[in-house]
Symmetry: C2
Subunit: 312 residues, 2 copies
């Protein structure tokens, strides 16, 4: 069995760990969001790819959900002592090594997908992790503050401002000319089912779906999504701020409507959202909180079972 999954960061990575646990013999290809990627201190940082790689590879800081376990911060402290900006992005020493390797390989001419494969050779995540694209396309957010109306990198809005200033719009800069990374369309074509974890529907899944060719390829497939919204609130993170920016309500119904019946075949919602409906979509309600590994595996199993049933 070949499963394709799209993923953002923390929530997606945890869900994928459950999916791998519940389907240990399946071949799982993960198409990772790279819209959050950012160049810091001259180094290329891919937060979502790394969160998936570290989480599935056993190197994640479990409590925090991102970054490396047993992390130290000497490099960051020293950069601050030199007065180098930005100081709001929390890179740890172990994590820095990943970005150093990636940046060196980019400079040497390797593609992001080749580099991701090389990094995964160490981490052995048990899935095939592909960036959505080898081309650089970054999410930018338009805000208005005392400096006027301006576009800032998604990470500045998300990490520095904690989304405290409303996003007037969100744009994936460079996506028009981006191509899916090698293997992405092939994996979708070969997939028996496609699972969308409860990742951010705007800046994670939504970003991947914007890469020309990916959404179209998914239309031919059985796609089951797990709602990232439970009872009107995001499962985690600040998805509401992103949904508001694109004029979408923070509800399991609204996210399903956003994805659309053309794309989605099955939709898992929490029990309190059991009233959600959309013509042509099979909606199933069940506990969706990823309390622990077992609960997460159960959710992944439910999504997979629904997908396999719908694919029959």
């Amino acid at each position: 069995m070949h499963i394709v999954s799209l993923a953002g960061g923390i929530g997606g990575a945890r869900f994928l760990r459950g999916l791998r646990a519940t389907a240990p013999d399946a071949q799982i290809t993960v198409i990772g969001n790279t819209g959050d990627d950012i160049t810091l201190f001259g180094l290329r940082v891919c937060p979502d790819l790394d969160t998936v790689m570290y989480t599935l590879g056993g190197g994640i800081d479990e409590e925090q959900g991102w970054g490396r376990a047993k992390e130290s911060h000497a490099v960051k402290e020293e950069l601050a002592a030199y007065g180098v900006e930005p100081q709001w992005f929390g890179l740890g020493d172990r994590d820095f090594a990943t970005h150093i390797v990636r940046s060196q390989m980019l400079e040497a001419g390797y593609s992001l997908s080749q580099i991701t494969e090389a990094l995964c050779a160490r981490w052995q995540p048990g899935v095939r992790l592909l960036p959505m694209s080898d081309e650089r396309c970054e999410t930018h957010v338009v805000i208005s503050d005392e400096r006027g109306r301006r576009a800032i990198h998604f990470q500045e809005w998300w990490v520095r401002l904690r989304a405290s200033i409303p996003a007037e719009s969100i744009a994936l800069v460079g996506v028009e000319t981006a191509k899916p990374a090698p293997g992405v369309l092939e994996a979708i074509a070969e997939a028996d089912v496609v699972i969308l974890p409860p990742s951010n529907p705007v800046v994670s899944i939504g970003t991947i779906l914007q890469v020309p060719g990916i959404r179209d390829a998914l239309l031919a497939k059985t796609v089951v999504g797990v709602s990232p919204i439970i009872g009107g609130a995001p499962v985690r993170g600040m998805a509401d701020a992103c949904l508001t920016a694109i004029g979408v309500e923070t509800s399991a119904q609204a996210v399903l409507d956003l994805y659309g019946a053309e794309l989605i075949d099955g939709w898992l919602v929490a029990e309190e959202d059991s009233g959600v409906t959309l013509d042509g979509v099979t909606v199933a309600a069940r506990p969706l909180i990823m309390h622990d590994a077992d609960a997460t595996a159960d959710i992944a199993r439910a999504a997979l079972d629904l997908a396999l049933e719908l694919a029959r």
Copy 2:
């Protein structure tokens, strides 16, 4: 009073600390060796400039003589876990930050001398530290081993091989087209005296002297050198291996002959080398072991006094 000094790494940096202590009101310009510079993991590393900067700025690992005090090695361990080479060069986490800042500024178009000034704004070494050149010129060493006769970077010979394989020749690649960094020739022109610390006469001082224009500018000046060889052995390091490579005996006399009477006006030797002579050079013998800060300041004072006397 304006003093110009040429310097390599550990020995030069310690000597400069003595010079600064003994002449607190003097303006000291240090022309640092960059022939040891190397690009590692895509980052530009300038070992000698950093050793001078950290030593005079209070950040050096005193025991080791190079690298940062209270250092950790998470980045290096992680790079090794990724299987990235080389693993023989000991970069610590705090030190990495310096190379990250430098590399980012180089990428942004700043020159090495501008970057060195920016880094020194933090460290406040109490001297003006200039790289010998903004152009990249690196010391390479020709060796013969089981892989045949080949040129390797100086650091590979010095750090990985600990100079255990004889150098057949030593070349400063790129020096023909290198120019002294901005301020170097001006500082020499303005200098009242020039002091050569007991740095390596081949790959530190000798390298700086090869940059077109520097040696010529020094000929017009009163130059006093401190012998790096005491009783036939290097004060520290493996200067003998470098001298042998260029066919020069490891002795205070041979190093003086190598520098030549055209360049050198005064030469400080250890008491056991008091027989050293060269026409046109004033030789003075005195204890030259840099036991501690006081002993080092005494040596620097002796060199400075001799220079001032000869300059009169």
